[in-house]
């Protein structure tokens, strides 16, 4: 197990710059996630770590060793492919044993190790099956076993759950977490699903068009997004363009659609800002240190375990989420409604060119 360090990695494909100088420090034994929309460069980053692509600039280190240009078969960073890439002409056993045979491991030991790996992924007894005879989830687990059995320095997972149905996805998610904890290995995980990333990761790097926007624990990223992109990418949220109209130290007053919110924390230079408010932080009853906004009800959406009230404030729609029926009461569309938001729950960020 090693630390993985990326220093200013740049990768171009023809005229497009896929990675614009990525730097990351991944600790050993950590489950680290690269999160971002498709085309943000997360898979390219992963393929560079795996040695399947080479960066145009920058360095890649495993521990103290510079492995930037080490070919994939010498790198020891083993990738589990999005489509599993199981070899259909080999049995489960032969698939898992492939890497061990290349390492000239004695036959007896190969047998033991494959057995161990299949046990780990709960597929003992499937040795003689062919991949086509397995379900999607089983194929996925064989692919993980094939990678784990060679004791990789770092395990790379490329959208491992994207080809599974919703129920299996949850199951595999905790399975991957369990295996990672059990073996204490470094895992780099790529996904575009923010919920998946939050649930599984020790730390997350949010990526956008070839750059890293923010690195942090799931909680840091969710509660303290540092950019508008991160704020809007992490789940359904209210992002409202506004203007700073008054500054008082690190406290500012902002205005949108004629509504003024005062006493908000902001130290940025630009007066063009967005205010970010998580729907679940909006109350329909008065609360402490709260600003209030009065508008009209646009829609009420009933999800069962929570309810969303969508309010209209001028032309701005804002979503409030609550688990309390009582709080919603008898509200109906077109009726007036007041949203109460604690000032500490309002994040002001500079407006970003997205």
């Amino acid at each position: 197990m090693v630390e993985v360090k990326l220093q200013n990695i740049v990768k171009r494909f023809g005229d497009t710059v896929a990675l614009k100088g990525i730097s990351l420090d991944i600790k050993h034994g950590e489950l680290f996630t690269l999160l971002g929309p498709s085309g943000c460069g997360k898979s390219t980053t992963l393929r560079i770590i795996a040695g399947l692509e080479y960066p145009d600039e920058g360095k890649l280190y495993f521990g103290d060793q510079d492995v930037t240009y080490l070919p994939s078969h010498q790198k020891g960073a083993v990738l589990v492919f999005q489509n599993y890439a199981l070899w259909p002409h080999m049995t489960v056993f032969d698939n898992v044993a492939y890497g061990l045979k290349l390492r000239k491991v004695p036959k007896e030991e190969i047998k033991k190790k494959v057995e161990w790996a299949l046990e780990l992924i709960k597929l003992k007894g499937f040795e003689d099956r062919y991949p086509t005879q397995l379900s999607g989830g089983q194929q996925q687990r064989v692919a993980i076993a094939r990678a784990l059995v060679v004791e990789p320095k770092v395990l790379l997972l490329d959208e491992p759950l994207s080809n599974l149905d919703a129920k299996l996805r949850l199951e595999m998610r905790s399975e991957i977490r369990r295996i990672q904890r059990e073996l204490g290995i470094t895992v780099i995980y790529v996904t575009h699903d923010q919920e998946e990333a939050m649930a599984i990761s020790d730390r997350i790097a949010v990526m956008n068009v070839g750059t890293v926007e923010q690195v942090g624990t799931p909680r840091e990223i969710y509660e303290h997004p540092r950019t508008e992109f991160v704020a809007s990418f992490m789940g359904k949220t209210n992002v409202i363009p506004a203007k700073v109209v008054e500054r008082n130290g690190d406290r500012v007053t902002v205005e949108f659609e004629g509504f003024r919110l005062d006493g908000l924390h902001y130290t940025g230079k630009s007066d063009n800002v967005v205010i970010v408010i998580r729907p679940e932080r909006i109350r329909l009853k008065p609360a402490e240190n709260a600003v209030s906004l009065t508008g009209t009800v646009d829609l009420i959406e009933y999800y069962g375990f929570f309810i969303e009230v969508i309010g209209l404030f001028g032309d701005v729609r804002m979503i409030a989420r609550t688990i309390s029926d009582r709080e919603v009461g008898n509200l109906k569309p077109t009726q007036p409604v007041t949203f109460y938001i604690n000032r500490d729950d309002i994040i002001v960020l500079p407006k970003q060119q997205l």
Binding site: G14, A50, G51, L52, Y54, P55, D56, Y69, P71, S72, H73, Q74, K75, A77, V78, L79, F81, Q82, N83, Y84, A85, L86, W87, P88, H89, Y98, G99, L102, R103, P131, T132, Q139, R146, A147, V150, N163
Partner: protein, 615 residues
């Protein structure tokens, strides 16, 4: 160390290993050495007159009415002439000069072959009728290649006392006089019957691949019958049909068998392929730069057809737009009038087009064939296959040349398809891809001619066993193997490239990522997975090597000890009376080789792996 952009541009990867470099350079150098440079040497010869660069030889072609006479054709399509004590309609065709004749013949063959191929394909793809399975088997028959002898049978069929008149004149009384098809018309008929299966296969695949919902939607909006075919079905199938038709046009252009069999009629000789060929065999004209110029004209026309169709098919990729999942093909029971068309026109037409192959078998087992039917059953010709030393010799020769050629072809196709298919960003990839498919558009006689100039003039080869003017040492086998390996490369290369495309690149990457070198990943993952494509392509290339004609009867016929089968067949059918039967026996042998290959291919491909994974 840093990434070398120059290397990446050419090889598609910044750090190519020896396997990657070999995969690019071996096929590239081989194809440049034995295809591009020989053609360039011939080109140079055609542009030199009296030691100067000149277009003299091209002027000598386009200025002479013998070669180029588009405005005042001589002869007539058909005329009534006496034959014995009766009158017959004698078809021979107009003479526009050699160059235009070749083009007119090629276009006529394209049209006729397309009509036949599309009609059979549409009936087979869309109708379910009693006897369909028999028809399906019969449709395999015209695919069997029997050089020269099938044309001999076609010629007999269309003589005044031949099968066609026996049916349509004697029994059905459809003609006022018997017909006799000869000359260029005979060439057109023979080539159409030989090559229409190419259109059939392409058209059938196209009709089968049309998403039924597209036609159902049109029906749903009120389109029916011929309107539906004209507005939806045919346009969607057109790219496939056009590709088949273009191939037929090229094959017609380069064909030598039909003009050689019909050469009794002087006009049949006035085709580019025959002219170049006869300059070759008449000896003294060998090395004639005018013929090099004519070969270039022919090559240019073939390449124009080839590039035009590539461009057109590339543009019409929409045919592939709605793919996904399997669908139930639209097969219907024919209505009464449709059934009448199928049983009274389509199936009889099919029977006529498969008669040449049947006739070859009859010819091989008979003593004479002067009238409508062959006479006198005998096994002596078939026995000669196993006993006559010169016949055994040519079979051995062809098997040897084809086997060696096929090994080269497999190496070339594997390396070229791997390099071009896996490193698509490489600047060399499209060049390699084109070089591996373009031999299909290069007429065999052009290759023969190019090799002649190349090996007899260019230093490393001049005076060696490859130099045909070095009569004592010349070993035709070497030249034939080279020619076969180039000419038959596209069949295997296309099959293997299709195989590689079906194997997702992640399967190899996974192996490399787990610690395999590239060579190990190739031998343990890719090659086992494409083994069936490899065997199928190799078999196809092999049977076409065995029946290769143009180079076989030119470079291959210089020394009778080293004749391939086709050189012997040509000698037999143009030789004394009766030996055509022996040629037919060789034709039967070739058919058996092809049937064996088809059966083997079917048996093997039954157990196919299906690729798993979703992206």
């Amino acid at each position: 160390m840093a990434v070398n952009k120059w290397v990446e541009r050419f090889f598609g990867t910044p750090m190519p290993d020896s396997v990657v470099i070999t995969s690019f350079l071996f096929p590239l150098l081989y194809l440049i050495g034995f295809l591009v440079i020989p053609v360039l040497v011939m080109l140079l010869t055609a542009f030199v007159y009296n030691g100067h660069i000149s277009i003299y030889w091209f002027k000598s072609i386009f200025g002479a009415p013998y070669y180029f006479n588009p405005l005042h054709p001589s002869g007539s399509l058909v005329q009534l002439i006496p034959w014995g004590n009766q009158q017959v309609y004698y078809f021979s065709g107009w003479d526009f000069g050699v160059v235009i004749n070749s083009i007119v013949v090629s276009i006529s063959v394209m049209i006729l072959a397309t009509i036949l191929g599309v009609a059979f394909a549409f009936v087979m793809a869309r109708y379910d009728f009693p006897g369909k399975n028999i028809v399906r088997i019969l449709l395999f028959v015209p695919l069997l290649v029997t050089p020269f002898v099938n044309v001999v049978v076609v010629k007999k069929m269309f003589l005044p006392n031949g099968l066609i008149n026996w049916i349509f004149y004697q029994h059905l009384h459809l003609f006022p006089h018997p017909i006799w098809i000869d000359g260029l018309v005979g060439v057109v008929i023979a080539q159409s019957m030989t090559y229409y299966p190419i259109v059939y296969l392409n058209a059938y695949a196209s009709f089968i691949n049309i998403d039924p919902s597209l036609e159902e939607q049109a029906e749903n909006l009120g389109s029916r019958g011929f309107h539906l075919f004209r507005t939806v079905t045919f346009p969607l199938a057109l790219p496939g049909i056009a590709a088949g038709a273009a191939l037929v046009g090229i094959f017609s252009l380069e064909d030598l068998a039909a003009p050689i069999v019909f050469q009794g009629s002087a006009i049949a000789k006035k085709l580019m392929s025959f002219q170049i060929y006869s300059s070759f065999v008449s000896g003294f004209a060998v090395g004639n730069p005018q013929m090099a110029a004519l070969a270039l004209v022919m090559l240019t026309i073939a390449l124009i057809i080839f590039l035009a169709i590539r461009w057109y098919v590339g543009m019409k990729q929409y045919a592939m737009l709605s793919k996904g999942g399997r669908w139930k093909p639209r097969v219907a029971k024919p209505r009464l009038w449709q059934a009448a068309v199928i049983y009274l026109i389509v199936i009889p037409a099919l029977l006529i087009t498969i008669f040449p192959q049947i006739g070859v078998v009859l010819l091989a087992f008979s003593k004479r064939w002067y009238g409508t039917w062959p006479e006198g059953f005998t096994l002596s010709h078939m026995e000669a296959l196993l006993t006559q030393p010169d016949i055994l010799r040519v079979i051995e020769n062809s098997l040897l040349y084809s086997t060696v050629a096929i090994f080269i072809i497999i190496l070339l196709s594997l390396t070229a398809s791997y390099a071009a298919g896996r490193f698509k960003k490489a600047k060399l990839a499209p060049i390699l891809d084109s070089l591996a498919t373009i031999p299909i558009a290069v007429p065999g006689i052009v290759i023969a001619m190019s090799y002649f100039f190349f090996f007899s003039t260019v230093p490393p080869f001049k005076g060696t066993a490859l130099d045909p003017t070095n009569l004592l040492a010349f070993f035709p086998g070497a030249a034939l193997i080279l020619a076969y390996s180039i000419r038959r490369l596209p069949f295997a290369a296309r099959s293997i490239a299709a195989g590689i495309q079906q194997v997702h690149v992640s399967l190899e990457e996974a192996a490399i990522n787990l610690g395999a070198g590239r060579w190990k990943a190739l031998t343990s993952i890719l090659i086992p997975m494409i083994l069936l494509n490899l065997l199928g392509g190799a078999m196809l290339s092999f049977v076409y090597c065995m029946s290769e004609t143009s180079v076989g009867i030119t470079l291959g016929s210089i020394n009778s000890t080293w004749y391939p089968i086709t050189a012997k067949m040509k000698e037999l059918i143009t030789g004394s009376v009766g030996s055509a039967n022996l040629a037919a026996a060789l034709g039967v042998f070739l058919m058996l080789v092809q049937i064996l290959a088809i059966v083997l291919a079917n048996v093997i491909t039954k157990q196919r792996y299906s690729f798993i994974g979703l992206t």
